[in-house]
């Protein structure tokens, strides 16, 4: 059902490198799982509303008031490459 090409397309959307072995395994495992999932298609769901939230809550609002946030140095302490008070990253274009 799902072939190598589709796996590569989805992996690219998910920003995930897969090895050759992983690509083949993913194609077969996802196909197997989808066979079970697609049994949902047998149900008559005409006119059924999709659930967006399970508990009856709408529009939870609060006042938009500024408050202190974590200090920059505390947040950057966990970063792989802190740079100039921000997060260092490789160039978006090689």
């Amino acid at each position: 059902m799902i072939d190598r090409e589709q796996v590569l397309h989805v992996a690219s959307l998910a920003r995930l490198d897969l090895s050759d072995v992983e690509i083949d395994r993913m194609a077969s495992e996802l196909s197997d799982v989808l066979v079970h999932i697609e049994k949902m298609g047998e149900l008559d769901l005409e006119g059924v509303e999709a659930t967006t939230h399970v508990i009856d809550v709408v529009n939870v609002l609060r006042a938009d008031e500024p408050e202190p946030c974590l200090p920059v140095e505390v947040v950057l302490a966990q970063a792989p490459e802190p740079a100039a008070g921000g997060f260092g990253v490789p160039s978006p274009v090689a």
Partner: protein, 472 residues
């Protein structure tokens, strides 16, 4: 010292408050047991009791708490069972952990889990599998396997975990303890590393129902940092009920027949007879869409996960694998940092949400979810609670189900319908089958936790499950 370990958490808290036990001594007793952990239940242990001992009036009496590694704890490793978060020490603490510490349950340690809570056997942890204290060749269940094993083995007096499709209830069942998944919104999700945001809930894993109620009492509440959280109406009471007169229990044929192991069914049926003996009425009922819950769940949860796990990109925290350009850095970091099951779910979720497939998968799954919630609503017009086995089988051998992903997903068969409907459910031990614990599940309407705990308490008394063997 062994006597201390034999006290339930609520009893220990009571003794501390009465001045009969020193809370630091209690902490050290558990800490030394946890330090000798042979089950791989813990990924981090506190050095000792908190410098500031909880006051004598602290309701939880300084009884130490094991916390699933999915919860952020300030300055303490919070790795969610993943290589991609190895060494991550968050700059803040999850609301429920902070609430419990404030109520007098200090952090004992962080517990092992399936990576990002994806799994039912704890074999998907980057930090190795957890062993079941009833039989070390078997899994403890998952994803909160470390919390369940630690409580069952007496390495911790109580623990918290998270449940998305069964991750509290199933390991509780397989380890012979109590596990409760609250109503969606009852507990704040702030600081819980997100898996599937519309399903995730924190909850207690404890030795008995009273401990679960006591812990839950201090977990619930509205949190301004989680807009889906709701103040729990009236709060949580400690259960006292000893009988079930007038309680109507519905047994859904879809979740109590085909595919359930015989030994589990025997224990389930024996528990139904006990319930009848206590005055409950038992009748069959239908949850017609329940057999499709697993399909809906394995679309919705991976779809939400694929979005939530986009944040692990090697930029702000955790692992980075260097590359020439930004996209390649993302791809390599995620390829190295995520394990096989997490990759599978990200792929499944991304596929289900991708252009051309969205309606067929995600749209359909959300409609099935509506039907499942309707089935429960209808059932609750005739019944107070729906009861099922928690897990279709008892603890299985390590490695015996890893080859086939769907076979592993079947573990969640009886536990996924409830989170899809947002309703609470509890698993209590109902007995042994071939020497391994069996779980009995009760599910009730949203915010019915107090009545559910009362029924579970009465049943627990009648069952009289003896879990002491797992603590030796």
């Amino acid at each position: 010292m062994h006597d201390l370990i034999e006290l339930t958490a609520a009893a220990a808290a009571e003794r501390v408050r009465a001045g009969e036990i020193d809370s630091a001594e209690l902490f050290d007793a558990y800490r030394s047991r946890a330090a000798a952990d042979e089950l791989n239940a813990f990924t981090w242990l506190a050095g000792g009791p908190p410098a500031q001992a909880p006051g004598r009036d602290a309701p939880l009496g300084g009884v130490p708490l094991a916390v699933k590694d999915l919860f952020c704890t300030e300055g303490v490793p919070s790795q969610a069972g993943s290589r991609i978060l190895e060494g991550y020490r968050p700059p803040y603490t999850a609301t429920v952990v902070a609430q419990l510490a404030a109520a007098g349950a200090p952090l004992l340690g962080k517990t092992n889990q399936d990576e990002f809570a994806m799994g039912s056997s704890n074999e998907n942890s980057a930090y190795g599998p957890v062993l079941n204290p009833w039989d070390r060749s078997r899994v403890p269940g998952g994803s909160s396997g470390g919390s369940a094993a630690a409580v069952a083995a007496g390495l911790a007096p109580w623990a918290i975990g998270t449940d998305t499709g069964g991750s509290i209830r199933q390991p509780a069942a397989l380890c012979g303890i109590v596990g409760l998944k609250p109503t969606y919104g009852a507990c704040s999700r702030y600081g819980m590393i997100a898996f599937a945001s519309s399903l995730d809930q924190a909850g207690p894993l404890t030795r008995n129902v009273t401990d679960a109620a006591l812990l839950l009492r201090h977990m619930v509440g509205h949190d301004r940092r989680d807009s889906t959280s709701i103040a729990f109406p009236g709060g949580i009471d400690l259960p006292r009920s000893e009988d079930l007169t007038g309680i109507r229990l519905g047994v859904p044929e879809e979740l109590s027949g085909d595919g359930i192991e015989q030994g589990v069914l025997d224990s389930f049926n024996a528990t139904l007879r006990l319930a009848e003996g206590l005055g409950a009425s038992i009748e069959p009922c239908r949850l017609a869409h329940a057999p499709h819950a697993l399909s809906a769940y394995y679309v919705i949860a991976p779809a939400e996960a694929s979005a939530n796990l986009a944040r692990f990109d090697g930029v702000r925290y955790g692992l980075r694998v260097d590359a020439e350009d930004l996209t390649e850095m993302y791809r390599r970091t995620r390829a190295t940092g995520f394990g096989a099951e997490v990759k599978r779910r990200i792929m499944l979720g991304t596929y289900a949400l991708s252009s051309g497939y969205y309606d067929a998968y995600y749209g359909t799954a959300q409609k099935v979810r509506t039907k499942i919630a309707e089935d429960f609503r209808d059932a609750f017009t005739r019944f107070d609670f729906i009861v099922t086995p928690t897990s279709p089988w008892t603890a299985f051998e390590l490695g015996s189900r890893t080859a086939d992903p769907y076979a592993m997903y079947l573990n969640d068969f009886c536990t996924v319908p409830m989170p899809l409907a947002g309703i609470p459910a509890i698993s209590i031990p109902s007995g042994l089958s071939d020497g391994l614990p069996v779980g009995f599940q009760l599910a009730g309407p949203a915010f019915s936790e107090n009545r559910m705990l009362a029924v579970a308490h009465a049943l627990e008394g009648a069952i009289g499950f003896d879990a002491s063997r797992a603590r030796r």
